[in-house]
């Protein structure tokens, strides 16, 4: 198989706040190949968005990438000068944000916001840029794109705005798109449509897609690989079907248990007991320890990320794996 388009290795992004260091991203690794989808899953506050911002180089102070590498076609984005990073941003690497109601500038027309994106990276005339913008709107299923270009964001519904944001992300047919929960704020039906369209376009253009979500069921039908985050760390990663079938990490098992499913209809949903720990002053050792049914004294030592089966990594001393469980 080909080399991955994007490979994140041991990424650490910390926020140096007055209250202390918030290790929002603390050892995150994953990789995506062209045309594939990588699902980044985790609870609220687990560091998914910060991971996304680290990839496109938009971590603002007091935050800073403190370690690791972000290899994009072999180049390390973590150490790339800002000018070079800017020529990639929105061009080869694009991001779609969490809240479609907030991502478009309310006082600028859609055409302004699209044309400027085209012209930021391609030396083309305004007319040509408008053509491309119109085509992109058509691609994401916005009816009468010529008219819609003249509109302001408030004249669109949430779903339509997210389509516009996706169209903007697709303008330069990027190699990587980081989609940060782009459908959570939308209706279920529209969620499904957008999901399917985004996936189709990425396969078509050979885009590597990082799909961030807290909803395991979204990722199950969409992604090729999956990385589960907990308190700033990836705790399990691997091909999505295998992970869903036989999770190694107790946290992943808990997540799967809390997804409503047809087979267990009528049964109450199982919840993971306890709360996500505060990222300030995390205790040493496994961060999931206080909520883990399999915890044991050894878990007070930081568990290493280990490959328990080919392509299957987990950060747990006592994983759900009879063959390796000691």
């Amino acid at each position: 198989m080909s080399a991955p388009t994007l490979e994140v290795r041991n990424l650490r992004t910390h926020f140096f706040t007055r209250a202390g260091v918030v290790k929002a991203v603390d050892d995150v690794s994953f990789s995506v190949k062209a045309g594939q989808v990588m699902g980044l899953v985790g609870e609220s506050g687990s560091g998914k968005t910060v991971t996304g911002f680290s990839i496109i180089g938009l971590v603002d102070p007091p935050g800073r990438i403190t370690g690791g590498q972000i290899l994009f076609k072999g180049r390390d984005l973590a150490t790339l000068p800002e000018a070079e990073m800017r020529s990639l941003r929105g061009n080869r690497i694009a991001m779609i944000f969490q809240d479609p109601m907030m991502t478009l500038n309310p006082v600028l027309r859609i055409d302004t916001q699209m044309i400027e994106t085209v012209q930021a990276h391609a030396k083309v005339s305004r007319e040509e840029a408008r053509q491309r913008s119109r085509d992109a709107l058509g691609q994401v299923g916005i009816p009468s794109p010529d008219e819609r270009l003249q509109s302001y964001p408030h004249q669109f519904s949430g779903g339509m705005r997210q389509r516009v944001a996706i169209a903007i992300a697709l303008l330069h047919k990027p190699d990587v798109i980081v989609a940060d929960e782009p459908t959570t704020a939308l209706d279920v039906t529209i969620q499904g449509q957008i999901l399917a369209e985004a996936q189709k376009l990425c396969t078509q253009f050979g885009t590597a897609l990082v799909w961030i979500t807290h909803d395991l069921s979204v990722v199950a039908g969409l992604a090729d690989d999956i990385a589960v985050m907990y308190a700033g760390k990836v705790v399990e990663s691997g091909p999505v079907a295998e992970v869903m079938d036989a999770p190694l990490h107790p946290y992943t098992l808990g997540l799967i248990g809390s997804v409503p499913s047809r087979n267990r209809r009528g049964e109450p949903l199982r919840q993971i007991p306890g709360m996500t720990p505060s990222l300030l002053n995390l205790p040493a050792g496994c961060a999931f320890r206080s909520r883990c049914p399999r915890a044991e004294p050894r878990c007070a030592e930081p568990p290493p990320m280990a490959e328990y089966r080919p392509g299957r990594h987990a950060r747990c001393i006592h994983p759900h794996d009879e063959a390796v469980a000691a």
Binding site: R86, R89, A94, F97, M102, L104, R109, A120, H121, H154
Partner: protein, 324 residues
């Protein structure tokens, strides 16, 4: 838009009517002009004739109705002192005041916007902290004192700028203007700066607060994520958004500037409405005071309307057809 304008005009008419009553009553309560205008030596007969001529013998409500009727025909009474129509006196002096107020507003925007922008983008820089500290001075130093200091330094000590009057003027559209001649501009410099001081501070603070708030918005981050240059992000995405509060406040403040030009005009002997009203209050020239206050009311209403319209042009989410 038409519906909106019609409704606003009706509202404006109602406000003017109420204000005319308040102004009339307020001014009536200030004092008795007869004591000032008629010489103590005048005999009873002369006295009564004067009172009659001025319409001061009628009951209050009748005086008001007469006043209102005349006002509707553009007659706000004759000045007791100049024996000229009060409205004419006010209108003659209005250009001088407007010139000063507009000059001060332009100056405030030209100085305040860039400084505020800089302070907002680099909130922790030494220069930004200096700008903010200075802006506090602009807020708290009394206008008349700053005016006197300006005269002390630039007129008395350095002798660079003239300290009184409008200087050479040019007639345009039927009135005299100072800003079209060099000498006039030299005369305008100090009073304009004096009047602008408070506004500069205001614009700096508004702009800085707006920039800091807007920079945190998702749409600014998204604009950056599109790979736009920092200049484009700042001057298009951020600037257009902060213009909304700045235009609103500065616009509404414009009426206040005209009202407060009284102090500056007195200090620099600038022959505008402010100086006229101070002189009129001193001699209880009631028609002039009433005419002045009515002009100010009209001015405020016009300004509010203009601000609303500008606001709707800047912010596409605001629709004028909607509730006002």
């Amino acid at each position: 838009m038409t519906v909106f304008l019609l409704r606003r005009l009706l509202q404006a008419a109602a406000v003017v009517l109420v204000m005319s009553l308040l102004v009339f009553l307020g001014v009536f309560a200030i004092g008795d002009p007869i004591e000032i205008l008629i010489s103590p030596e005048a005999d009873q007969f002369e006295r009564e004739r004067a009172i009659k001529a001025l319409g001061l013998d009628l009951p209050l409500w009748q005086q008001y109705l007469v006043f209102l009727g005349n006002a509707l025909q553009g007659d706000l009474g004759r000045s007791f002192v100049f024996n000229e129509p009060a409205l004419k006196l006010i209108l003659e002096r209005m250009p001088a005041t407007l010139e000063l107020a507009i000059g001060a507003t332009v100056l405030a925007l030209l100085i305040g916007l860039p400084l505020g922008l800089y302070a907002g983008l680099k909130p922790n820089g030494a220069l930004s902290k200096g700008i903010m500290a200075t802006s506090i001075l602009g807020f708290s130093l009394p206008t008349f004192w700053v005016g006197l200091m300006l005269i002390m330094v630039f007129a008395v000590q350095l002798g660079w700028l003239p300290s009184t009057g409008r200087g050479e003027t040019v007639t345009l559209l039927g009135t005299r203007w100072s800003f079209l001649t060099l000498d006039g501009l030299a005369h305008m410099a100090m009073p304009t700066l004096n009047l602008a001081l408070f506004k500069i501070s205001l614009v700096i603070r508004l702009t800085r607060a707006g920039v800091r708030e807007t920079m945190l918005m998702d749409y600014v981050k998204f604009a950056r994520a599109k790979g736009l240059s920092p200049a484009r992000v700042t001057f298009v995405h951020v600037f257009k958004n902060i213009l909304i509060p700045v235009v609103t406040v500065v616009g509404l403040e414009f009426g206040g500037t005209i009202a407060f030009s009284v102090v500056t005009e007195s200090v620099f002997a600038w022959p505008g409405m402010g100086k006229l009203i101070i002189d009129s209050i001193n001699v209880l020239d009631r028609p002039v005071m009433v005419a002045y206050l009515m002009m100010i009311v009209l001015l405020f209403i016009t300004i509010n309307l203009v601000v609303d319209i500008t606001y709707s042009l800047l912010d596409p989410r605001v629709r004028l057809e909607g509730k006002s």
